[in-house]
Symmetry: C2
Subunit: 375 residues, 2 copies
């Protein structure tokens, strides 16, 4: 059950407070959090709640990150959980809290607006997650949802995130629900496996958020216990779909750049190499200009400690091998960078592992969105 209401936290007057309740019979959950040491107050609260693997509800607000707001801010997260507990007749210790928006926002007015509107959010709960998916958005231009239908069980999910998209996790709030009958240990294992190859490999702008949280809640309402491997694969597909939707809606982006690293000595090496390209502003600006400047790819990967010989590397851009064994190969003019999707393939010739990092180009609109107003 989900709902979204207007708490006037956003200046736009759009929905900004979302509630998702797990009506059971099981209330198992798992969550992963930002690896940023500067964690927002709702993260500090939620890290405690998830410890016992039981979650009755999750409440999410946009319009303020409640981060670096001190002990008052932590009390706000606590009070928010208490208000949800009162409205739903559950324990506050089983209520997760997520916030997103400007860091440093979380004063008395912010708290009052949330607490005042929780009863309305509780009253609006329904099986339609549409308004909730809108209420968690910040600079996103579209709501992002994904679902999977299994044999008698299903997964549904919503995500928000457009800026501060970088790993560990990308800047995002994600809520995944399932009626599969799985315990919190299984959920935790599945969630970590799924996020490792999806959200953790999304690196739109190299900036890591203070408020990231991906939550998986299972009700067991289907009465079906899926095979854990099957469930993990389904969950991974749902997370990848959402990651691609986040990539597609990244602030100001005109290209989705998928950096596939093959023949690496290890998965970690492949990730490190892919991420070094994803974080190279010169490369990202070149892609915005539809310029297949492969020298910037090589300059980026040369900064890593991954195992490979810089002079024995092949680079393809949208199917054209522009660099072969460290020397110019096909003419760069053959590369067509007009499509939104750009595929960079880096062959390290150093092993057999692979990873793909998902990023975006660096555009005028990215600069505009992040300079013209506080977000």
């Amino acid at each position: 059950m989900a709902s979204g209401v207007i708490a006037q936290l956003k200046s736009t007057g759009k929905p900004d407070l979302a509630l998702v309740q797990n009506q059971g019979p099981r209330q198992a959950a798992a969550a992963v959090f930002t690896s940023n040491r500067a964690k927002a107050n709702p993260i500090l609260w939620s890290e405690r709640v998830i410890l016992d693997g039981t979650v009755s509800a999750i409440v999410l607000n946009s319009g303020g990150a409640n981060c670096f707001t001190g002990s008052f801010g932590f009390q706000t997260s606590h009070a928010t959980a208490e208000a949800v507990a009162d409205a739903l007749g559950v324990s506050a210790g089983d209520v997760l809290v997520c916030s997103t928006g400007l860091i440093g926002v979380g004063d008395q007015e912010f708290r009052d607006k949330i607490l005042t509107n929780i009863p309305a959010a509780a009253a609006a709960l329904s099986t339609d997650g549409h308004t909730a998916a809108h209420a968690i958005l910040t600079t996103d231009t579209v709501a992002k949802t994904a679902e999977f239908r299994g044999e008698g069980w299903s997964i549904g999910a919503m995500a928000k995130g457009a800026g501060m998209l970088a790993p560990g996790l990308a800047t995002m709030l994600v809520v995944v629900t399932t009626d599969a009958d799985l315990g919190s240990a299984d959920l935790d294992q599945a969630l970590r496996a799924a996020t490792r190859v999806s959200f953790d490999r999304l690196d739109s702008d190299g900036c890591m958020s203070t408020n990231d949280q991906v939550t998986l809640m299972a009700s067991g309402a289907s009465g079906i216990v899926p095979d854990l491997l099957t469930f993990t694969e389904a969950l991974t597909a749902v997370c990848l779909e959402l990651a691609h939707k986040l990539q597609g809606d990244a602030e100001g982006a005109t290209h989705n750049i998928n950096i596939e690293v093959v023949n690496a000595a290890s998965v970690r090496d492949a990730e490190v190499v892919g991420r070094s390209v994803a974080r190279n502003n010169l490369f990202k600006a070149a892609i915005f200009g539809n310029d297949p400047n492969w020298g910037r790819v090589l300059a980026a990967i040369g900064t890593t400690d991954a195992k490979f010989d810089p002079y024995l590397v092949d680079v393809w851009m949208n199917g054209v091998r522009v660099c072969h064994t460290g020397e110019p190969d096909q003419p760069r003019e053959l590369v067509d960078l007009q499509p939104r999707d750009v595929h960079v393939l880096i062959d390290l010739l150093a092993g057999s592992e692979t990873a793909t990092i998902y990023t975006n180009d660096l555009t005028h609109d990215y600069v505009h969105e992040n300079s013209a107003y506080s977000s």
Copy 2:
């Protein structure tokens, strides 16, 4: 002695080939090179030349990086040194080579243009370094020089660099000359001390070049042996002056941002914390928009492993304490970000070490310069 000539490597028809000769009596030298593993061919050549600490001349070209151009490119660097050796009557093994420009450029035409024009560069050698300082420029808008007058000895220096400015080293070519009578071991010690707190702390856009080289050449012509500490301090001042000139001419920048980290547990911690802010695109875009978005400073430093408590940090922006012990302090409206120079002070309250990282804002012009054409 120095010169600069037109070799038609640049499409602009401006000087693009520079030569600097050390006429002795001493020909001591030291150099530091990019830490990028993807090293350009002139770097591979120069790393061998510097081993014995003797350098007679350095030849530098803009208009092509001669990087990722294979064994042909290495032979070009070698042939360039041979041509200089022939023209000056010195050993090719004592001639350093530097190149800057587009990666992947270094074909037969590139080689011919350089070799053909080296005699003219040798013939043009004079005590006026002005044309040489212009010949090494790429996207720079002004020539960059610095000098120091000691007691009977002096230091002169020129630098180029505007993009790919990041540490280890920043993307730059620098030639420093002195008539002090010092050996290569002393020069090496002084140069490493000076670059560690100047060029190594310049991080304009997080992108590390393949062609960086800082060279220090001593002729001993003054006959004076300065105290090494005095010389190192003078050299450091010259390097810092050039680093600030590079920062001031960075591609598209509208602000010079100096991130001073104080009370760190170690110098390394201070550098890591400062650099994490310098590389945060959201923070850099905010400064472009004159937005004192201090939350982005805290989100950036939270990604580091430096020793500090994220909830006990103070942040000043241009003299205004916007965050105190991890909570909002003075109103952000008090911060005036109109001046070109922006001072961010981060007090980690974790020790007594300090470091300042020099960076720039992320602007529309940066994106334009790096997307509108290959560079």
